[in-house]
Amino acid sequence: MISTNRIFNCYKDELKYQIYSKTLLLIFIISISLAAINLYGLVSKAEGAYDVYVRTYNEFKDAGIDVEAMLKSPLNRDIKQTGSDRLTKVDNPVRFQFEEAGIASQLLKGPNIITNTLEWLDFVFFPIIFTLLGIHFVSYDYKYKTYKLKVIKAKWNKLFAGKLFALFTCTFFIFISTLIASYIIGLYFHSQVVNRIPLEQFSSLPQIDNNKLIIQLVFSLFICIFFALIGFLMGILFKSFILPTIIFLVFNLILPVLGKYDIRNMIAIISHEIFEFKGRFILFMPAYIPLYQSITLLVAIAILIIAASFLYLSRQGKYYN
């Protein structure tokens, strides 16, 4: 009971610091801004796709072709994938542009807003944001040398357990609040799209199937926690903010995917199962490994990271100078 109380006190102290230092607010603003950029891009995409459709329609009509017949005719696509490049050949450009405009106009509708926000943030921005958050959670007490005070309030394992739970809480809070805010922004943008594009003409098109929303949310939250844990471990190993941040950014943004067991490849394997990438972001095609192997390995890595963090902490000196 005393142990639980000590962990809870450490947890509360962590949250207080994050609130006072405005870290949560800053990350929330960054996440919302990134989500808003994507949603605004979806508005442009919908408008652009509609313009292209109208232009294509008029061009074919001016050429004396029966465009209404074309619109009713089926569309055949010949897709060729070369590495990450995808070439799509179509036999019915009017119908193709009609469908493209119809899909683009649906991206800001209801739950599709959430899916598109997740597709946009999950694979570049959330990994960076939450890794940096994890590094920050561990490193700020090294920076201010306040571990020396904190390890007198609670034993190191309880102190870091409190930190870890606070990190999970903040990750969850930022994740949920970003999605709620982006949903509200998306609804506003959708109202703008409705004003500019006569959406009723696309009502004959099938609606985007969004029955994987729950699994998308769970997987996205896992990604956030996974990278927060990576940051947590890096913060413990390097005891500073700058160096692990640079190392992670080089790994995530500059180094190519190092093989099928690279975590980015394993994440991509799962992502292609649950996301369709119809919005502005298209994830690279991963090297094949079975889905269950990706899931098992990622969960195992997350558990190993927690174990490694506490093992390393148990071996290092406690006088955090």
């Binding site: 006072y20 230092s21 201010y144």
Partner: protein, 219 residues
């Protein structure tokens, strides 16, 4: 009573202490002094459980980890969150003891308004005083002071001295330092460390230059 029995501390092959035995009397003021590099700070780290060692350290027959709530320490460099205000530091490091801290502020010449400032804008002495009252406000049974007098002006030293004088009946205070003139009116028990061992451990209640004489005799 804090009892250290057969304390041995080594860094690799270098032995800092070997079979050290010290007793710190309850509700008394103990000063640990000695030349630079004699191992005073290492002893403090061992007392706080921040270093691995062999031997036994007991606080009233309990391990430090069983009485963490009863221990407070003021470090020489006085770690605080420089990016937060004084009040925010009190809230996040001081277990919600704002009222107790505010009661102590006038005794140590700290204006409440100063606590609105970020710690990075405070002088070293102001930070140290804030760290001191933060520790004191928690009414610990054991108060450890590492080089408490460094960076503090004369008037504040007198105020701190008064506070400590009134507190040493309520808590066991262990101070590490060299300012013998400052500690002279406070000390009940003196421990002198030299060459990584205790060369003198005496029950005293001296005034004036008594401590200086004792120090000269042993060093």
């Amino acid at each position: 009573m804090i009892e250290i029995t057969n304390l041995t501390k080594r860094y690799g092959k270098y032995i800092v202490f070997k079979d050290l035995n010290i007793s710190f009397p309850t509700n008394k003021f103990t000063l640990i002094t000695g030349p630079n590099g004699s191992g005073k700070t290492t002893l403090l780290k061992c007392l706080l459980g921040l270093e691995k060692y062999t031997g036994i350290i007991k606080f009233s027959n309990k391990s430090i980890y069983d009485i963490l709530d009863e221990v407070q320490v003021v470090y020489d460099n006085c770690p605080l969150y420089a990016n937060l205000s004084g009040y925010q530091n009190i809230n996040s490091l001081g277990n919600n003891l704002l009222n107790q801290v505010e009661e102590l502020l006038p005794k140590i010449h700290i204006d409440k308004k100063m606590l609105d400032n970020k710690v990075k804008n405070m002088s070293f002495g102001q930070r140290k005083k804030l760290g001191f009252i933060l520790a004191l406000a928690q009414k610990p049974k054991y108060l450890l002071l590492d080089e408490m007098t460094n960076g503090i002006d004369y008037e504040s030293l007198l105020q701190i001295s008064d506070i400590l004088k009134n507190s040493d009946q309520l808590m066991t205070i262990i101070a590490i330092g060299h300012s013998l003139e400052f500690y002279s009116p406070l000390v009940d028990h003196l421990v002198i460390i030299k060459n990584n061992t205790v060369v003198s451990q005496e029950e005293i209640k001296c005034s004036g230059g008594g401590l200086v004489d004792l120090y000269k005799q042993n060093i």
